[in-house]
């Protein structure tokens, strides 16, 4: 948190400083907290003479609820893959056609025909990563490439585990742990999932954010969390290792989209095109330590990111990763009841 607060303060100071010039316009970005490179924003402001304001959110649902309520004043939002179709279906996004923009040629073909936005008519890649295991190897030294680390924790880790408070990520790993499929409605399977989570939770310490601070400091000895945050933890404490749950782990990609009621559409389009430039995409990644979807950005990345075990998925675990599609409303309501049971 200290680190987060400091970053936030630094970012604000930078923005305040950069914003004093006579900006031709404004751009209001609504993005996840601790996720936007201040250097990249500063570069954008200087290149296009635009004053950028960033507002944080901590979950897809928070962002969705706030924008649906109206009167938000944001131009750009960065929803996760399985949420993009909801935003489109609810009529909240502008069909900005980034696929016709100049820098679109830089987007890695892997991220063009994506299920949540085929052909990229609405959104461009921001960052992508996986949810996996982070363990302090001083505390526990055996195999960490399994969800058992938080579902059936070894004695050394009991009471020292933090699990991301994200319904989808946690349920996904648990369903996969029992060999099920995402969006399953199989009651027998879901009963096992619920019972396992309720039992496992008694062995967890917390379900919280701010891992980049507490994992290296030793407040947590193991986490189920996002790879970029775990990499940042490792850079602060070399004993931290990352594990890919072999039973199955979720892949996420957050994509930049323009809101239908945006007031600064032209600046938002400039920003979309700007972040598809390899050098700028690399700045985004260098800050938050997640991969981006832009070809050629690797050459601008810090050396330590090109070989990072958190970012380069080993061949044997590649198959275990999967994008979370959004389930039907009936399944979501089933899952959120299980989640309430787990959180009580």
């Amino acid at each position: 948190m200290r680190q987060k607060l400091m970053t936030a303060t630094a970012a604000t100071a930078l923005l305040a400083f950069a914003g004093t010039a006579h900006a031709d316009g404004e751009l209001n970005i609504y993005n996840w907290g601790d996720y936007t490179s201040p250097e990249m924003i500063k570069k954008f402001e200087e290149a296009h003479n635009v004053k950028v304001t960033i507002t944080d959110y901590d979950s897809n649902d928070t962002a969705l609820a706030k924008v649906r309520a109206g009167g938000h004043g944001f131009d750009i939002v960065v929803p996760s893959a399985n949420y993009v179709p909801i935003w489109v279906k609810e009529g909240l996004l502008l069909e900005a056609r980034p696929d016709q923009m100049e820098n679109f040629k830089n987007v890695d073909p892997r991220w063009v025909d994506v299920p949540w936005d085929p052909g990229r008519h609405y959104s461009v890649p921001w960052q992508w990563g996986v949810t996996g295991i982070g363990v302090n190897t001083k505390v526990y030294g055996a195999d960490i490439n399994t969800s058992a680390i938080f579902l059936d924790p070894p004695a050394e880790l009991v009471g020292k585990i933090n699990v991301a408070p994200e319904m989808n990520d946690v349920l996904y790993a648990t369903i996969k742990y029992f060999g099920g499929d995402w969006c399953t409605e199989d009651k027998e399977m879901l009963r096992k999932v619920r019972d396992k989570l309720v039992e496992a939770k008694t062995k967890w310490l917390a379900m919280d954010y701010s891992v980049t601070d507490k994992l290296p400091a030793g407040d947590y000895s193991a986490v189920y969390y996002w790879n970029g945050a775990i990499m940042r933890s490792r850079l602060a404490n070399p004993d931290i290792k990352f594990g890919y749950p072999k039973e199955g782990y979720p892949i996420f990609m957050d994509s930049v989209a323009i809101l239908k009621d945006a007031k600064n559409v032209e600046n938002a389009k400039l920003f979309m095109n700007f972040i598809m430039e390899p050098e700028n995409a690399a700045m985004i990644s260098a800050f938050a330590k997640y991969a981006n979807g832009i070809k050629g950005s690797e050459q601008f990345m810090p050396e330590d990111m090109k070989t990072a075990p958190e970012l380069v998925v080993p061949a044997e675990f590649e198959k275990a990763g999967e994008f979370l599609e959004s389930c039907s409303p009936e399944v979501v309501s089933l899952y959120s009841r299980i989640w309430t049971d787990v959180q009580k």
């Binding site: 948190m1 979950s59 649902d61 928070t62 969705l64 609820a65 649906r68 909801i86 609810e90 009471g159 933090n162 408070p165 319904m167 009651k187 879901l190 009963r191 619920r194 939770k201 967890w204 310490l205 917390a206 379900m207 919280d208 507490k214 400091a217 030793g218 407040d219 409303p329 979501v332 309501s333 089933l334 959120s336 009841r337 299980i338 989640w339 309430t340 049971d341 959180q343 009580k344």
Partner: protein, 307 residues
């Protein structure tokens, strides 16, 4: 029939009217900012839930209220008590009651101490009690986290002193939530207690001693009955915000032990069940109203006794 009586009546009418006019801005704000939204909540609690949060307008449904206390089993559709909600209700009430008792135990001697200082120094002490209000609650909660976490000040000092060799796990326990709530709400207990004690006629206490009452007896039969309005006011002021606490259980409880505030937030966020969230909010308010009614009846009774 004299004009004097009429003049008096006219003056009274003017007085009433100017009082209404003077309070009109406040009443308007209360109506639009507090009572209006309450009706919105009430209406939402009787609507069907939308697929992605929100409600379906005009579609009447009792599902929200039904799921406050009951649930269809996820797996076989039988109807049972919603034990997830009940255990959260119980945790909230339990933690709030303990917070009230602990702040009373700590606040009573503090207020007594301040009330028995010479008049010109009392203000300084009261001023010191209010200093925590200068800082935002969220920041104070994070500061507390720095104190009690494993690598925090408390554990580091105790390890350096050789009192313990392993850090004590305080963060993310019910004890941490309690610790946080007691710290944050203590001034709300001390101030009304002090207001009551300041008015306490200490000659009565001396008279008690003169009549050979023991210290305990003086406390029990003289001081406590006289400062009872302060005790009740302080307890209410602590109990009510404790019931709805959100930030403290979120930060110090690590999101693992929910209280009512967190449950409500969940329904409006990832749970996507606004009618249920609205129904729980109104239930919480009803609980607060009950506590307030107890207070009003108590205050009326003690007012009748001492007024």
């Amino acid at each position: 029939m004299t004009s004097a009586a009429e003049i008096v009546r006219q003056a009274e009418r003017d007085d009433v009217r100017s009082r209404w006019l003077l309070s009109a801005p406040a009443l308007l704000i209360i109506f639009f900012a507090a009572i209006g939204p309450l009706f919105v909540m009430l209406a939402y609690s009787f609507m069907a839930k939308g697929d992605y949060g929100d409600v379906r307008f005009g579609e009447f449904s009792l599902d929200g209220w039904f799921s406050v206390l009951f649930q269809r089993d996820i797996f076989d559709d039988t109807i049972g008590l919603a034990d997830a909600h009940l255990s959260i209700f119980w945790r909230s009430v339990k933690l709030s009651l303990i917070t009230t008792i602990v702040t009373l135990a700590l606040g009573f001697p503090t207020a007594y101490f301040i009330a028995t200082r010479p008049p010109h120094t009392r203000e300084v002490w009261v001023f010191l009690v209010t200093i925590p209000f200068w800082t935002n609650l969220l920041i104070r909660t994070f500061a507390m986290q720095e104190v009690i976490r494993n690598e925090g000040i408390l554990n580091t000092v105790m390890i350096r002193l050789g009192l313990i060799d392993q850090p004590i796990q305080l963060m993310y326990t019910d004890a941490a939530i309690l610790f946080g709530m007691v710290y944050v709400y203590l001034p709300l207990m001390v101030l009304p207690l002090y207001a009551s004690m300041e008015k306490l006629d200490f000659r009565l206490v001396e008279a008690g001693y003169d009549l050979y009452a023991t210290r305990l007896r003086v406390l029990w039969r003289i001081i406590i009955p006289l400062v009872r309005p302060g005790i009740v006011a302080g307890s209410i002021l602590v109990f009510i915000p404790s019931l709805g606490a959100y930030v403290i259980p979120r930060v110090l409880g690590g999101g693992k032990s929910m209280m009512l505030g967190n449950l409500i937030e969940l329904q409006f966020g990832a749970g996507r069940n606004w009618p249920l969230g609205a129904a729980i909010s109104i239930t919480l308010m009803a609980m607060v109203m009950v506590a307030l009614l107890v207070y009003v009846r108590n205050a009326a009774r003690s007012g009748a006794q001492h007024g």
